[in-house]
Symmetry: C2
Subunit: 429 residues, 2 copies
């Protein structure tokens, strides 16, 4: 595993190389995706069924074969072992309760001339949530995408989840039931994104598509952006642990593993001013890795993209964190509140030694759909606000029209837009 020292002359270039990840589009993927999208737009259901049979190894004869009924979702929930059913409901309740705090409301005020200004907040009508299938089928992602939409007041939540070789995941279906998904289709890839974006005979057109997926899904979402809204283009998952050396090194090692086990290209980084503690975490990694069923993935991820970084002090660690803008950030220190104001860019901040990232992933309440690949510099966790939008409200009073009309007239003439100016001038007495 890579070990860096922030005092080394090459540190900045080493850090840049560590973070480098080709997020740009692959023209070949783009082309194939464009062809699939065009086909789905033109032929609808027939195209979706064909691509699904081809890519997912299914043998559907119509879209009806690819729709899950509410009864099927409910039955999946009822088949769950009691501990899973309880855990799923407990997680859903906590996620719901947290997200209710995010709900935006309409607002307005009147200025001194009696002109009303504000914004009306409304929910989206219908959204699509993309849930990856196959080896990375995550019921928790169903909760994290559907519950905020539900809290926002979205009337219809359409889930798509591919079922390679027809294999359904009961926990995913149960999560859809618990989260209040309206309709669910066992489709995936660019064809599912196209079906949601354009609508087909069976799949209704949505207003926004959220949820992570592979390179084809990401390319398809980028391509349909504008026709529908999208949440973000997700990259590999990342964790940055900023430690002061007071947390049990085994705990930190396991937190680094829990990111690394997602994927060979996931990234786990430790920042700590105490070189001895870094040694201890490394020893824990060596000791614990063989206990892990996914140790090959963990080892590859830590080797390819992981790093243990010795820093000068905690302030420098915060600066490095802001540069990295990690998706997940653990402030595994005695007094996280003291450092918090220095952390400007991170998707989620897990404070104190008891806050393992995995608690946040499942059930603490906040969303686990978070900005990756340095995009926490400019974007936010998925939230209720992603399923609401605002309309500006302006009601100019007769008095206000006189004052505003003068200003608008001058500026509109300055821009050479006479009709704009005249429209304002007509309202002058």
């Amino acid at each position: 595993m890579r070990r860096l020292d922030s005092t080394s002359a090459d540190f900045q270039s080493e850090l840049t190389a560590l973070l480098a990840f080709e997020t740009s589009q692959d023209p070949q993927v783009d082309q194939r995706v464009a062809a699939i999208l065009a086909d789905v737009k033109t032929r609808g259901d027939a195209a979706v069924v064909e691509y699904t049979n081809k890519f997912d190894g299914t043998s559907a004869s119509s879209m009806a074969d690819l729709e899950l009924t509410q009864a099927e979702l409910k039955a999946a929930f009822e088949r769950l072992p009691a501990d899973q059913a309880t855990a799923l409901q407990a997680a859903a309740a906590r996620v719901r309760s947290y997200h209710e705090k995010q709900k935006m409301s309409s607002w307005s005020y009147e200025d001194e001339d009696g002109t009303l200004l504000g914004q009306q907040v409304t929910a989206l009508d219908r959204v699509g949530i993309y849930v990856p299938g196959g080896k990375a089928a995550y019921p928790s992602s169903v909760l994290m995408n559907a519950i905020p939409a539900h809290v926002a007041g979205v009337a219809e939540i359409i889930m798509v989840v591919p079922t390679p070789k027809g294999e359904r995941n009961d926990l995913v279906l149960a999560a859809a039931y618990v989260a209040g998904v309206s309709r669910a289709f066992t489709i995936g890839g660019a064809q599912a994104v196209g079906a949601l974006a354009y609508g087909t005979q069976t799949v209704p057109q949505v207003d926004k598509i959220t949820g992570p997926g592979n390179a084809y899904v990401a390319a398809a979402k980028r391509a349909v952006f504008g026709v529908v809204g999208i949440d973000m283009v997700a990259g590999p998952s990342e964790i940055l642990v900023l430690a002061d050396g007071t947390t049990n090194p085994d705990w930190v090692a396991m937190d680094l593993f829990s990111q690394a086990e997602h994927d060979e290209i996931a990234q786990s980084i430790l920042l700590c001013p105490d070189a001895g503690y870094v040694d201890a975490v490394y020893a824990s990694i060596e000791k614990l890795i063989d206990t892990q069923p996914r140790k090959d993935i963990i080892a590859a991820s830590l080797k390819n993209r992981g790093a243990l970084i010795v820093v000068k002090d905690l302030d420098e660690a915060c600066e490095i964190c802001n540069y990295i803008a990690p998706e997940h950030m653990e402030l595994s220190v005695e007094n996280p509140e003291a450092l918090l104001p220095k952390i400007r860019h991170a998707g989620a901040i897990f404070m104190g030694k008891f806050t393992s990232e995995s608690l946040g992933d499942y059930c603490a309440g906040p969303n686990h759909v978070l900005p990756t690949a340095r995009s926490a510099r400019f974007s936010s966790p998925l939230g209720v606000y992603d399923f609401q939008k605002r309309s500006s409200l302006i009601k100019v009073s007769e008095v206000g029209a006189q004052k505003l009309g003068q200003i608008a007239s001058v500026l509109a003439h300055g821009e050479g837009l006479t009709a704009h100016a005249n429209a304002a001038e007509f309202r002058l007495k």
Copy 2:
């Protein structure tokens, strides 16, 4: 000008045809843009200077020639006629005051176990605002992009504005001065988007790019989305006037003109249940069009994309409006408050006969950067919230770790993620 009747059997297909606008990407534009972006990413300043000289007919020898100093911005403001200077400052003050109401704050709460949950809200560090140059140089757009960023607390606001043939627009430069732009470059097109997204030797890399532009700018923004944030992909401007027949028809005609004068592909639509009033507005259009310096553009826009639509009643008009999800929506009725709850999708709602859209464009306060092409179904006016972002906050108490750890452990094992489960289990007593 097209005249439709909502009771006609073909109405829905006529409406769909009216709204149809090919927003999808042009592969040729995409390819040229990709080449420019790659070149700017590799060669930086040198590439930007070359493309600028080539496309804008300038003769810069280095990026230094393409940077505007603060002194130049200030001098442009000081050269303005007094009425323009006053109007610009008055508009800026109103826009600032409205946007201050949008500023989001951090929030948090503790649950019954003493676990802290919330979100920390921070400003973006540095943003780029794209201001179109040439024939559509709009100083008001400088205010509408820069002021929300400034209110959000963005430390550096970088403006790019092309100056075809070197022609600078004093009002644009003055607006940059008034709005608090940090640095300004006279560059445009895909090369300006690339410079902002990747950074060059001279142009600093930004975290987000906002502002409208032509097809090349739109394609470039779409391509760099992910590397930086973007606001939206802007389409042609639109207005929908929903009238009950009580507003002076000349006023409504001029409001339709003020959208149509932007562009031959801009769209102006009137919805009204009173056929006689629709006739009167049409008569006003015929009477007033010759008074307009931009009458050719207005006539082309109204002919190609405009429509006067007679509807059954105001409720139906609201439904049609929600389908159209217009960028600008005038509720030109006696009692706009009564209809407001029925309008779910619109970028901005201009209520009452005194509220011409042009007052909102310049100085009422709300932003004039609004979702186009039906995207008001899922997106919002540009605002302070576009220049802030959130980090989730989670600080699990020791008690909370016991309860949450059980839930997370069950769900993580259910997803086959043992390290996630172990990280939670390690925190159990």
